[in-house]
């Protein structure tokens, strides 16, 4: 009898990865996984809740799968360690009780929302919000709380029975304030950034018009997207703007940085002047350049009044070159920033390199081009990624400068997304277009991430 209990204990320890020392690691990773899952489920089902017809399924299905797993683990635990489930044994179990109480409160409000109304009315508007919220999500949240309680209970029991009692409790409770204070970050990272992105991608396969619906249409939205002249023009514009702005801002930024790096006087003044457009809004930039490039009053008129009467320079009114008009404004605003990044990179180069190049008699421009530039690779790559992710977002500038005109000649993808989503009442088109934008960012981002973090995973332990 005693032998079989021992065997059972060993088995439980083995199934939970309880080989010496690994236990804490196993449990924390289990909890991290659970937390990630929970955040995702909450974020997604919260979003799906807006649909009405999807919400019940999410609330019923999502929590119960891991709950079943946890319940099985707990059952195993109780079976192998009879008598280990006393609720006052250690702190983890105290927490479990807390979660159960929360679950009970949620359930009570969810079930008895209407009878409780007079009580809740005492709280004013927030009471109404609580009742509504619990009516929608009460069961789901209660299930989540029960799940957490079961997990805590199982961990507590496991902890007590391990060869180092109290170990897991300490690992888990340690730095609890830090963990709690990081909740907003976790919510944003999982709920908004991950959940929101996944949601948009999923709903780009539906037939959503004014409101999101779950009518599945496969790749139809993408087929339609690529069949639209406006989207094709947007992509072409973005490609032209992107390539030109990438190359020019890198080149100009580097030249400016090299000029400022010549140990000159008034460096701060020059830098202040070159950087000030970056402090301005894209809207302000766009409107100023719209005025400067105005053919009736701006540069064209001024040159004509100097006697050159057939001079033509009206980029904002010419369909073929309108994107270059926007490029001028974009470069004016952005190159100062690139220059600052480059200058920081240049200042990071060892002074001895310069001396060595000088001794070898290499002309300065060649040193810059063939010695310093390759050494600045990390800065260049970071700059490239920053410029690229900024280019994809190009929106305000176009809205201010041309509103997409003349005609649709200066449309860009970001504007397409906004117009379809909030003006055209064609949500799914907007989702599909924004998914394409996401894809293009990934194409830049993934190789960069691979280069940057690919070598070996950093470990903080």
């Amino acid at each position: 009898m005693a032998e079989s209990a021992n065997a059972g204990m060993a088995g439980a320890a083995a199934t939970l990865g309880g080989r010496n020392g690994n236990e804490g690691l196993f449990l924390t990773s289990l909890f991290t996984a659970l937390a990630v899952w929970l955040g995702l489920a909450l974020g997604l089902s919260g979003l799906l809740g807006g649909l009405g017809d999807y919400a019940p399924w999410a609330t019923i299905l999502l929590p119960w799968i891991p709950l079943a797993v946890a319940a099985y683990a707990a059952f195993n635990m109780v079976r192998t360690h009879p008598g280990s489930v006393n609720f006052t044994g250690n702190r983890l179990r105290g927490y479990a009780i807390g979660w159960l109480v929360i679950a009970a409160v949620l359930l009570v409000i969810a079930v008895a929302g209407q009878p409780l109304k007079p009580v809740m009315d005492l709280l004013g508007k927030s009471g109404q919000i609580i009742v509504d919220f619990c009516a929608d999500y009460g069961y789901f949240l209660a299930a989540c709380c029960v799940l957490i309680a079961v997990g805590l209970l199982a961990t507590g029991a496991r902890d007590e029975a391990s060869e180092a009692p109290g170990r897991v409790e300490r690992t888990f409770v340690q730095k609890l304030t830090a963990k709690v204070s990081a909740i907003p970050m976790a919510l944003v990272a999982i709920g908004v950034f991950t959940g929101g992105t996944i949601w948009t991608v999923i709903f780009s396969f539906t037939n959503s018009k004014l409101l999101p619906t779950t009518k599945w249409v496969g790749l139809d939205q993408y087929v339609r997207l690529w069949g639209e002249a406006r989207w094709i023009i947007s992509i072409k514009n973005l490609a032209i703007y992107g390539v030109c702005s990438l190359v020019l801002s890198l080149v100009i930024g580097f030249i400016l940085a090299a000029l400022l790096d010549q140990k000159i006087r008034f460096e701060n003044t020059f830098r202040t002047i070159l950087l000030y457009p970056f402090a301005l809004s894209f809207i302000v930039t766009g409107l100023v350049w719209q005025w400067v490039l105005n053919p009736d009053f701006g540069v064209q008129q001024v040159v004509r009044s100097l006697g050159w009467t057939d001079f033509v320079f009206d980029p904002l009114y010419n369909q073929d070159i309108v994107i270059f008009g926007i490029l001028i404004a974009g470069l004016w605003q952005g190159t100062g920033f690139i220059m600052c990044l480059m200058l920081a990179g240049l200042r990071g180069i060892d002074e001895d390199i310069w001396k060595a190049a000088r001794v070898d008699g290499i002309p300065m421009w060649r040193t810059y081009l063939f010695v310093v530039l390759p050494m600045m690779r990390p800065v260049l790559i970071t700059t490239l990624v920053i410029i690229a992710s900024g280019i994809v977002r190009l929106y305000d500038l176009v809205v201010a400068q041309t509103s997409g005109g003349p005609g649709i000649a200066s449309e860009v993808p970001a504007k397409y997304v906004y117009d379809k989503m909030f003006l055209g009442q064609n949500l799914a088109q907007g989702f599909a277009a924004s998914t394409m934008m996401l894809l293009s960012v990934f194409i830049v981002l993934v190789p960069w991430a691979y280069l940057e973090f690919g070598g070996g995973k950093k470990n903080n332990e």
């Binding site: 949601w199 009053f297 990044l341």
Partner: protein, 299 residues
Amino acid sequence: MSDATLAIEPSGPKPKPIFSRRNIIVYGSLIVICLYYLVPLYVMVVTSLKGMPEIRLGNIFSPPLEITFQPWVKAWAEACTGLNCDGLSRGFWNSVRILIPSVIVSIIIASVNGYALANWRFKGANIFFTILIFGSFIPYQVMLYPIVIILREIGLYGSLTGLVIVHTIFGMPILTLLFRNYFTSVPEELFKAARIDGAGFWGIYFRIMLPMSLPIFVVAMILQVTGIWNDFLFGVVYTKPDTYPMTVQLNNIVNSVQGVKEYNVNMAATIITGLVPLTVYFISGKLFVRGIAAGAVKG
């Protein structure tokens, strides 16, 4: 200069003539480029000080013959967007009402995040941080609508509070990175000493980290003030016409189709909108550069 002890021989670089060819090229090109950068600002100011008849005569570069502040007054108090004609002032106050809580909330949350990430490393924290950093590269357009739904669900869509939340969310990656990097550079001994003296998470934050890192708080503030003031997309998506921030209202005033275009009023309105970030920029000087470079170079 570095060899002060051996200063028997003349030291330092060879004196160069002021008008060497190199100097002329370097300073000449820098001055020309700076002039190019300053032209739009100059044109803005000059145009806003002219009357409409003078503008119609032509040259946008010529200084005003008769200086008038009428356009500024009109832009501030009378310019029309749609039906209401109370000028930019409303947008300005909306922007202020958005700016102050957004800056405070986002900095508080991000600094605590950065502090937890730098000094209280716990397992799993880096996963969230990595997602956050990657998230900052994702086009906003992808997350626009999900956030609309979230805000609508909690009843904040279209309100200023909603926009504050949005700014807090999207300011989080860069600010968290900024604070994390700064707090990591604070000597660990200080942290350990405080731990031994019995200070907890908040004790160390308020008594050690906060007083020691005021410069980085200023940098974060500059970053957020200019960023939030200049925002257009979130303003246009998450607010309603009577709570539009200044940039959105400016765009509506200038690009409205009805009525005669009053270029001087438009330019005055544009300057007024750009004045806040420009003031912050010129006052803060090097801190601004540090703010924008901190996220990029160490990231």
